[in-house]
Symmetry: C2
Subunit: 503 residues, 2 copies
Amino acid sequence: MTISNKALDLFVERIALIKSYEESLGLLYWDLRTGAPRKGMDVRSEAIGNLSGQMFKLATAPELGEWLSELEQSDTYEGLSEIHQRLVTETRKEYDRSVKIPPKLYQEYVVLTSQAESMWEEAKANSDFASFEPYLDKIITYTNQFIDLWGVKGTRYDTLLDMYEPGMTTAELDRVFGGLREKLVPLSAAIANSPHQPETGFLKQQYAKEAQKKFSLFILEQMGFDFTGGRLDESAHPFATGLNPGDVRITTRYLADDVTSALFGTIHECGHALYEQNISKDLIGTTLCTGTSMGIHESQSRFWENVIGRSMGFWKRYFGDLQQHFPNQLDVSVEDFYRATNVSQPSLIRIEADELTYNLHIIIRYEIEKQIFNEGVKASELPALWNAKYKEYLGIEPENDGEGVLQDVHWSGGSFGYFPSYSLGNMYAAQITDTLEREMPNFWELVESGNLIPIKEWLTDKVYQYGKLRTPSELITSITGKSLDPDYLFRYLEKKYTDIYKL
Amino acid sequence: MTISNKALDLFVERIALIKSYEESLGLLYWDLRTGAPRKGMDVRSEAIGNLSGQMFKLATAPELGEWLSELEQSDTYEGLSEIHQRLVTETRKEYDRSVKIPPKLYQEYVVLTSQAESMWEEAKANSDFASFEPYLDKIITYTNQFIDLWGVKGTRYDTLLDMYEPGMTTAELDRVFGGLREKLVPLSAAIANSPHQPETGFLKQQYAKEAQKKFSLFILEQMGFDFTGGRLDESAHPFATGLNPGDVRITTRYLADDVTSALFGTIHECGHALYEQNISKDLIGTTLCTGTSMGIHESQSRFWENVIGRSMGFWKRYFGDLQQHFPNQLDVSVEDFYRATNVSQPSLIRIEADELTYNLHIIIRYEIEKQIFNEGVKASELPALWNAKYKEYLGIEPENDGEGVLQDVHWSGGSFGYFPSYSLGNMYAAQITDTLEREMPNFWELVESGNLIPIKEWLTDKVYQYGKLRTPSELITSITGKSLDPDYLFRYLEKKYTDIYKL
């Protein structure tokens, strides 16, 4: 017992050290993206590389493996607290994954993806897939090597999915995405054919940045964002980063000719932030002190952005405030505003897609990634595959690869298996909302009266506090009593869009 | 030769790694002081502590000592580049200093000074020296232990001086501070007795922050501050930090009722920044890539703030611009403004002191520190000693210890030996100015015409580019052809104040 206590102390101390690196690197990245002077970026990148390397050494050191083995002895493990048990399980998983990759191979891969990201940027600007293809091809080859080293459970692609959504499988995604796609494709077509298309011109006028910023800050406050434990900045690509629960930072981007970008972007990132700000203090200093998966994280940003932020109830309460900020631009009814901000139409670019068709963009990427790793589809085949799927599911085709297969940065960085998280987030959000509506019968009254704090508290109780202490499937089952079911999302979208488009 | 090449590679790699930690920690501190959310600060401090500990391990590791020993072999050393030679010398010095302190002792000391800083803050607010005395006493005891471990050359206090001003000794400071004090005390008294006291009331009016900020940015640009390699922020205590030559950050503080605070503060910090921005690229990634000493660094901030920024020539050029920013407040002549911003009078608080009496504040601290370490003066004796010296040199006495011996944070953090740097900076600046005036005969014409860039370039050539590649005494000798001579400062002050106060 003395020995294992010592192993526990050393283990906990190492985890805290790793977490300190994560927090510091988080700040270095935040700084790079918000205001670091351009001239210092190369040297800063070196520093980031050096610190990351140090963290990797600490996270893959032989002694960590020994402490883990000691703590995994069944009688020792049984005596651990719930937090320490989960910390051992999580760390073992990460440890095994990391030590299986030879450092030299990993370093080659890091160099490759860093080159590939630059090449991708150029290729996208020139719509020149051919110049990017050899890089993508190599990244796929490396990723396949990693899959072999990590070991395959289920299908090869499952090994990748598990990194972003622990426990997620191709079989499960085939079920939920398949079910969703079948219903969304005809719904999207019906919407496109509806004669009742909302008027949106008034959204594209001049909206003064200062007023946008003021309104963003107001909405953050309404949502319960804690400004003593967070801040709002600007960046070209909005993001949220939880350095620790007392320091959660979000960014937004104000477009002078579009009021919706910063508005819904801010609400979205605040959803991420509320998650990170409300993780239990008990998890501070451990690697469990963050969201449990990309999908669950995205469920929170999308719950706040779409379920709340794009609802009629929300704007019944807040449209008057928004009008006061933009009296000349927003001389329309709340219904007009609601419909305009919920337009749905097939489009080519994922990040500009609406709440409904967005899922089809994701399903296309999912199907292609699955084919790459489970069926051996080659990089060279992707443009044709991409265009055919857009034609089939969205009824439109890119005119060039820049607005097609080259549009996303993910693959150039090797992030295969990441895309499904976005739609998983939508599905989790819809399923959780169903429970929320039942457990809190006055939910929509709260929204309509601008009383959002009880909603944040309900989510803290059910989701936020746990950080990584519960897995995504444990969470969704404990909250809703059921495993993931895509019908919640479909029914939510069907109801909303049937009303808006008078289907 | 192959072996030593390998040692060189490993050595250079380790130095780059240490520099990456320094840069990252620099950013973490900058963030804490400029805008980090309050709630996350405790966890952030843990992260800083953890990373500092990791850096210390790397900087004191046995293998570093072995590489150094190998590189110090005379035939190997002779074959090294100038940069690598200096890097070996500098690192050896730091290494020996660090490994001589037992880690446990150092850790105790870190805890002590961290407690002492909180206690000091409270003691200062309450003017309660008794509550701080036991902490100060312990810090002196620890510092004496460190001096014993480091080893004494010359006097015990020399060991401390060397940390901030390499090569500086008590004998040298006795000479220069003694000479200066003897002449400044009567000059200061003559000024106090002059009937020609400048009118200063107009400086203390309402000055809108936005206009102050605009003017600060304008002056930074005039001085050649590179905004693509730096930024200006706000903080309670203004500072400059050079993370790397491409990322140098300064802060200022805008007081609504005092136009001079931000104005001269910004020019001062920009002086530090110009130094850091213009270090040779060849030194990037090494620990030589920073100012060579506190004193030389301070010479640059004070050169720009005082020699340039508080000169009649500077305001002949820029007062019109300042008036345009504050037309209602500054309806005075440029002479009135020049005299008002150069008031000299004995005061109790160092950080509010003028260019002349400031040196007496420093000399008092120097004499007291010297007595503590070379004559065994006890913490309990300091308040009386302090008050007596203020009476003798400045003719005034604090009414309580809050505005006396407790006013500065330095001792609570154990920074004995640091204070002399400030006046060394003034002396270096005056001596360098003398050379500058001779080598650049149109110097004052350049200032009067707002053509400051050639001055920045001259200083880059003489000082900035070298970073730590030259020691303070090497620099001052190579630039001015003489060792440090306090008469330059005295003659500069005498001339300036004789004119202003019509002595």
